[in-house]
Symmetry: C2
Amino acid sequence: MLIVKKFGGTSVADKERIFNVAKRCIEDYEKGNDVVVVLSAMGKYTDELIEKAHDINPNPPKREMDMLFTIGEQMSVSLMAMAMAQLGVRAVSLNAFQVPMHTTSSYGNARLKKIDTERIKRELEDRKIVIVTGFQGINKYDDYTTLGRGGSDTTAVALAAVLHADACEIYTDVDGVYTADPRLVPTARKLKEITYDEMLDLATLGAGVLHNRSVEMAKKYGVRLVVRSSLNNSEGTVVKEVVNKVERMIISGVALDKNADRISVIGIQDMPGSAFKLFNTLAKKNINVDIIIQSVGREGTKDISFTVSHENLDEAIALLEEKKEALGFEKVEYNCDVAKLSIVGAGMMSNPGVAAKMFECLYNQDVNINMIATSEIRITVLVAQKDAVAAMNAVHEAFGLSERN
Amino acid sequence: MLIVKKFGGTSVADKERIFNVAKRCIEDYEKGNDVVVVLSAMGKYTDELIEKAHDINPNPPKREMDMLFTIGEQMSVSLMAMAMAQLGVRAVSLNAFQVPMHTTSSYGNARLKKIDTERIKRELEDRKIVIVTGFQGINKYDDYTTLGRGGSDTTAVALAAVLHADACEIYTDVDGVYTADPRLVPTARKLKEITYDEMLDLATLGAGVLHNRSVEMAKKYGVRLVVRSSLNNSEGTVVKEVVNKVERMIISGVALDKNADRISVIGIQDMPGSAFKLFNTLAKKNINVDIIIQSVGREGTKDISFTVSHENLDEAIALLEEKKEALGFEKVEYNCDVAKLSIVGAGMMSNPGVAAKMFECLYNQDVNINMIATSEIRITVLVAQKDAVAAMNAVHEAFGLSERN
């Protein structure tokens, strides 16, 4: 078996944890498996590097920022190789130049294009554990690039894909994917399996332990993903294309996103193209909007409401006020006291009445629904912040996700 | 003009110093020069990395140690590029993979083999300041290597050679090469010029501010070296093939090495090959010996004395005791209370009586000479530690090197 194992920054934050990771990798290696390890920078080291850089230049060139960032993972991989050597196992660390790991040109947010497997395969054939820097690549100019958020997960999945690995294990500080965030829903249950699509929806909703890009890539290349804890040996959650039908519940998880704010554009002219202009204006500034609803306003106008993430609120409001005349609306309002509650599950496609059941549950809890959005495997509602956690628990219980069921 | 400027770790130890270096480079750049900057790791960062490594593995694989070391210079160069950007100047940092900088295979002590100049030249043509990681290279396996002691100086000189630079400026915490260590000889004077050979001798004697390898390389490729201070704008010392005759003094400098211990092998058999066997035994263990004298002993035997550096003393004595029978001598003695005092100068070749003048000076000081060794441009004597500094000052004065002369 060829196994790709990815460990995040907290898993390699100090000497003790580095040795823990080394031992876990060696366990698999000594069973005769080929082991490729992908590591992030240690603990808060990336933050330290950002601080160092900003102290010198508050707005450093992105190319140089990536040059600085990449030393973080290089430190992790070389120290890990030393730890494995100390434990008597042959290991070799490789950075993006040594693999090499080719990406698009854009610094800070590059995408993987091509991974050469020759060196890695040669080292594996030589029975070494291969330790690869996550998060980083090189572009056509022979410059370092970084992959942006969730970058090391993406590196791991991509390596698993090109090496045709039997599994890609992503180690985190939780021991798998839960039916809901256990900090908010005490009865949340760990899932044995989940589909790529469900995982994608959960990731989008901020409830996932994996970044979207890595799940998308895993889905595209059929990489068997396993989310596991770096702290214990529990089995974790397998992310794959189709999950066991016996296991199948109607919904797989409940997610809550408190980071959503609602913006309402009141009295926009009711004419073709007005919605397009509105959202195009926001898109140009890279402001992502989520749930959108449109209602009839007064005297031939309409009202359009949508949600944005909290960090985009100020910019969105300022932008809309600036373009008020061009977009032709009366006023803009916003509400920060809202939360997005979602249920996700491939099972709902073949089960009518899922939405009705969710709304009934919220009605019984006396929770008012502000907005609704649905996809084939997801239903999202906007509720008041104060109601959010209670509503989340009620829905979790109603769909039989609780541990005691 | 194309200028290569090398700054050591203390010159880039913090934000303020990084900006000082950036400004000095920009000054030259804005005069229209092409500027290539070579940097070491910041301050004590390399020591920190060694500590991190040894905490995990007291005897880490050298290949992984080099992988770890190289992040030090990468940090320096990327931060320097950010500082220059902050000052409004276009700069680009390059590591050993990006140059690339090819070396021999041996980790921890590699030698430069070939430097590709294409990327550097392209960046210079694009009017960027090019900032290169010192000390590091890559070998034929595409692994990082490091150049060992004085490595960044060597990188700078090698770059100056392959780029046909007009000068290679080595910035240190002293402002040039002095006629003697100013901490020991208060009247020591800064030299305007010195020859490669004199510099090599001074470096060998531990009095030099440059490492031997870099001076050897500069001599081989005719690179005009300038030793300057990173703290002030004084002119420094030029190291070159032939120095101005008007300037020429008989000797250029006085050096003192307190790190020498004397070993005497007493009663060695007086037969062919006995000296060879003795020094071959030491050489095999990488123990370098310096001044050697041989005198007639009792009853067909001879005594051989030589100096070793203090850190090699214990090993040398143990080795000799172990091989006593094979080497065939009576006993071994040693003396740690000695110092090596040397005068260096290309001028002494054409000036007879230099040695006599030195001995006379020491006689006037009532200093006993233990051993003597000479080369074409150097005379070294072994004296008691207690006499060393006074003797040094007297010789410095006698040859007219003092500032007041």
